[in-house]
């Protein structure tokens, strides 16, 4: 593995609503420093899956133009050779968030654990679509991953009802790792947890297992505590509070070969869900260990009734009654899927299929895809507070509600989400977007992970898609010689497909001086102008991820985005 020279990249956009531009602060007015909760999952040099989560304290911008890291704590676990010491975790002793005057940046974390990162120092590329939230990718050559960092708005003990999922790797034989996924709901009162969890470890599925004897311990000054046994009896977990409604948690077991990281989202003050809560929606799910990703959109309805088949190019049945109640409802769907590492690899573009789902009052439901979408069939669905934005939990203004999902098939193990599809106006997919992707490639290896972040500009009505890319490919999976580069770029044209809400981006050209151009076939599904999901469906490479809009740059403000996007600086 090579470790490329790391340069400071940063892109930040001086757009309205982003306080972090023009030498300002990414923090709330008056704050001297803020805590941010982060997590990521990916592959490191020693193991197929590693997870990291923590809280970092970042001071306001200094005279040297950078934001100093003043402290924090993290947990790192690759399920094998590296796990942060417990109960202390890794102390974050320094570092900085390098934000140039009009750029996003790189977060450097110096820890007291020489086993992580490069001699204890980790670096992440970051792109902030708004001041409270960024996509992150580890970018120091020791590992590659995708995740997020979010302003921490509470350090209090979690309370109330939550939905959760997590993913990672487990070994049940002591010899090999298998992919693992978990999903469920729980209620926590004074730290005591009751609930149910679905588990899928290497295709060994257990549904609706009772969660008993689990306790959230009192969090420390960083909002960190333990919640052993939440996902599985023998797993020791630490949690990190993001806010009153969101918690990240990570497996820190040093005794067994397991690692996982996940999130829990509030279900609201008084959860009372029904199948009617899942209406027209966009779904996405993936798992880099399993080696697959999917995205699509669903239309839900009560029953066939007098509904007429959908017109060509539409997933909406004419006259289909809306879904209601807690009984089973039906769904029509169109989706893109890349099961690159399935026993029989499958790539599907705009594939039509049917299915059904059911969501009881506690938000712990099931969803089934009928034949037609590869090997995917069975899911658990775990409804979240209708006011929560799953990708950006501090943003309550758009793309809120929906559910977490976990695949419960014996050959596919992964996690994802369903979010309401509230806006499929083509012109609203415009502006500036923070994009991220995580995937595998067989171009030069048997299937290692790569990750990227991009700051993309989408212009309408021509559908132009372009922007700089930070590519993390430390295992030379996608590019034979380049390991880390900030000099890459995307160009392409977004074309609305026959299915309203879906776009083709084919080819999406990834270019860099080091490796020329790689053309990718990509499908995009629009939940709203603010949030979209994309998946690559090539036969030798795939990625899945999201696009999150910078506020004030879309729709009628798109021309502003176009002018700002030119302000990419190294």
């Amino acid at each position: 593995m090579k470790r490329g020279t790391l340069l400071v990249v940063l892109v930040a956009l001086c757009v309205s609503g982003i306080v972090g531009c023009g030498g300002g602060s990414i923090f709330r007015p008056g704050a001297r420093s803020s805590n941010f909760t982060f997590y990521a999952i990916g592959e490191d040099a020693a193991a197929p899956v590693y997870c990291v989560a923590g809280v970092v304290a970042i001071a306001n911008k200094g005279s040297n133009g950078v934001f100093a890291v003043t402290g924090g704590v993290q947990d790192y676990n690759n399920g094998d050779t590296i796990v942060s010491p417990q109960p202390s975790g890794d102390k974050i002793t320094g570092g900085n968030l390098s934000l140039e005057s009009n750029g996003t940046g790189i977060l450097t974390l110096i820890t007291n654990n020489s086993a992580v990162g490069v001699d204890g120092t980790e670096q992440f590329v970051v792109v902030f679509p708004n001041s409270n939230h960024a996509l992150i990718t580890q970018f120091d050559g020791s590992a590659t991953s995708s995740g997020s960092i979010d302003l921490q708005t509470s350090r209090a003990l979690p309370s109330g009802s939550f939905a959760f999922t997590s993913a990672g790797a487990f070994s049940t034989d002591g010899q090999t790792f298998s992919p693992a996924a978990f999903g469920g709901v729980f209620t926590v009162a004074s730290g005591s947890v009751t609930g149910s969890v679905d588990t899928n470890i290497g295709g060994e599925v257990n549904r609706s297992v009772a969660i008993t004897g689990v306790t959230f311990t009192k969090p420390d000054k960083f909002g960190r505590g333990t919640v052993d046994g939440l996902t599985s009896t023998h797993s020791n977990l630490n949690y990190y509070v993001v806010g009153p409604e969101v918690v990240r948690f990570i497996d820190v077991d040093s005794a067994t070969f397991d690692t996982a990281v996940g999130s829990a989202y509030s279900q609201g003050a008084n959860p009372n869900f029904s199948s009617g809560n899942i209406g027209q929606s966009v779904f996405s799910f993936s798992n880099a260990f399993t080696g697959y990703a999917a995205a699509g959109q669903i239309f839900t309805f009560e029953d066939e009734g007098t509904a007429k088949p959908a017109a060509k190019g539409s997933i909406v049945r004419d006259g289909a009654p809306a879904c209601s109640g807690t009984s089973t409802c039906l769904l029509d769907a169109v989706g893109d899927l890349n099961e690159l590492f399935a026993e029989s690899p499958v790539q599907l573009v705009a594939a039509r299929f049917d299915g059904s789902f059911q969501l009881p009052a506690n938000g712990f439901g099931t969803m089934t895809f009928d034949e037609g979408f590869g090997d995917t069939a069975n899911f658990g669905i775990y409804a979240v507070d209708p006011t929560l934005n799953i990708l950006d939990p501090n943003d309550t203004t758009d793309t809120t509600g929906g559910a977490l999902i976990a695949e419960m098939d014996d050959s596919l193990i992964g996690t994802g989400s369903i979010v309401p599809q509230s806006d499929i106006v083509v012109a609203d997919f415009s502006g500036t977007y923070a994009g991220g992707g995580s995937g595998n490639s067989t171009l030069f290896t048997t299937g290692d992970e790569f990750d990227f972040l991009t700051l993309a500009t989408v212009t309408e009505p021509d559908g132009g898609f372009s922007g700089p890319v930070a590519l993390s490919d430390p295992f030379e999976a996608l590019t034979d010689s380049v390991t880390l580069t900030i000099d890459a770029s995307f160009t392409g044209t977004v074309v609305p497909s026959d299915f309203a809400g879906r776009f083709d981006l084919n080819p999406l050209a990834l270019s860099a001086p080091e490796f020329g151009t790689i053309d990718m076939a990509v499908g995009i599904y629009q939940a709203s102008g603010q949030q979209l999901f994309w998946v690559e469906t090539d036969s030798d490479t795939y990625f899945g991820g999201s696009l999150e809009q910078f506020p004030g740059t879309g729709g009628a403000d798109a021309t502003k985005a176009k002018s700002n996007a030119a302000k990419w600086q190294h």
Binding site: A47, D80, T81, A169, S171, T172, D173, G174, Q175, T176, F177, S178, P179, V197, I201, G202, G203, E204, N206, V209, I211, S232, T233, H234, T256, F257, T290, G291, F341, A342, E343, S344, Q347, L348, V349, A350, A351, E371, F373, G374, D375, A377, D410, S411, S441, T442, L443, T445, T446, G447, D480, A509, F515, G516, T517, D519, M520, A521, S539, T541
Partner: protein, 158 residues
């Protein structure tokens, strides 16, 4: 995915050729048709013995093989493409297999995109058995053997 290079001047293009940067031409193999799920059926497993004719650690796209590593075996019944999945070559015992060695493979015969392949779960060589897939056909990755951790065991809540 398709690799290409931007339109360059003649000198630039020549320079690229001289430095032999790969220029792949490959079109997406996508379909909008339904795909029939392919489940690994352990009841259909067979164990075969053969001589390794070649080891393909990372097939090129021109080979049009199932992603992941492969052992090409000569067996009494003919040539066998034993697909090992994504992580097999992380196992030192598998990655050290060379042409001419006798190996035993356990798995299921199937057809992928018109090609007969042997979906391998176990590889036995030099008296050692290596698991490259689990009982559900899911590709598994070897643990390093460098830590003191033990197997996770189901029980209780699970």
């Amino acid at each position: 995915m398709k690799w290409r290079f931007p339109v360059l001047g003649a000198l630039a293009a020549l320079a690229l050729c001289l430095f032999a940067v790969p220029n792949y031409a490959q079109t997406s193999a996508v379909t909008t048709k339904s795909a029939v799920p392919h489940k690994y059926d352990i009841t259909q497993e067979v164990t075969l013995t053969g001589t390794v004719s070649s080891v393909i650690k990372a097939p090129t796209r021109e080979m049009k093989m199932v992603p992941g590593s492969h052992l090409m075996l000569a067996t009494p019944s003919g040539r066998l493409d034993a697909t090992l999945g994504k992580y097999a070559m992380r196992n030192a015992g598998v990655s050290s297999i060379t042409a001419g060695q006798q190996v035993q493979v356990t798995g299921v015969n199937t057809t992928v995109k018109g090609q007969q392949v042997f979906v391998t779960r176990l590889v036995q060589v030099n008296g050692h058995t290596y698991k490259v897939r689990n009982e559900h056909g899911v590709a598994v990755a070897p643990v390093s053997g460098k830590s003191n951790r033990s197997a996770y065991t189901n029980g209780g809540q699970l």
